[in-house]
């Protein structure tokens, strides 16, 4: 009796959850980046 071929299917990868993208600014929203200030520094 022939051995039944055993086949192993690779474990299915669970689909990775979608990475939420950061919310996009709406019209009228403001995003302001403030430059770093210096307390004591070169040339100050």
């Amino acid at each position: 009796m022939a051995d039944e071929a055993t086949s192993q299917t690779p474990a299915e990868k669970s689909p990775s959850p979608p990475v939420p993208s950061p919310p996009k600014p709406k019209p009228g929203d403001h995003v302001i980046t403030v430059p770093t200030g210096i307390i004591i520094g070169k040339g100050q």
Partner: protein
């Protein structure tokens, strides 16, 4: 126009030096002010000391209180090396998003950071920034203003 860098109030430098204004504190707050704010009486003078001396703050019931917003993640740390080799130190906080949820916020021009205290008359001012040359006339209901701190921090001592 890009926002102006954080400028340290003159008296704050004294208080940082004598330990009255500890950058290691974790109770700093940020508030918004209009172009009418009295942060300076000349191009270079930054005479204010306490939050109670500030005029021209933005007021919007609930959304923009005089007492400002609690900052998160305040951190005074070395960034270039550790221990005795640390030559650059940084004061940093998390970003802050102000939401005009119930009423518009008018005439936003400045943001200022101060050390939280028992009352406005004892809360020491640290620094301020000119967020924009032409003030934001109205942050309408539903809109946000996000103030991002530079990756190099709010203040550096180098």
């Amino acid at each position: 126009m890009a926002a102006g860098a954080w400028k340290v109030f003159n008296r704050a430098k004294k208080y940082i030096g004598n330990g009255t204004l500890s950058l290691s504190s974790t109770t700093f707050r940020l508030a918004l002010a209009t172009s009418a704010a009295n942060f300076k009486t000349s191009a270079s003078a930054l005479p204010l000391i306490m939050r109670g001396s500030v005029t021209g703050f933005c007021v919007s019931t609930g959304d923009c209180p005089k007492v400002g917003f609690q900052l998160s993640g305040e951190l005074w740390t070395n960034v270039s090396a550790t221990g005795a080799n640390a030559k650059i130190l940084r004061f940093d906080t998390g970003d802050l998003t102000v939401v005009a949820s119930t009423s518009a916020i008018a005439n936003i021009k400045y943001a200022y950071i101060f050390l939280s205290g028992a009352s406005a008359t004892v809360e020491k001012l640290l620094c301020y920034s000119t967020l924009t040359t032409s003030q934001i006339t109205s942050l309408a209901i539903g809109n946000t203003l996000t103030i991002q701190m530079n990756t190099s921090g709010v203040l550096r001592l180098s």
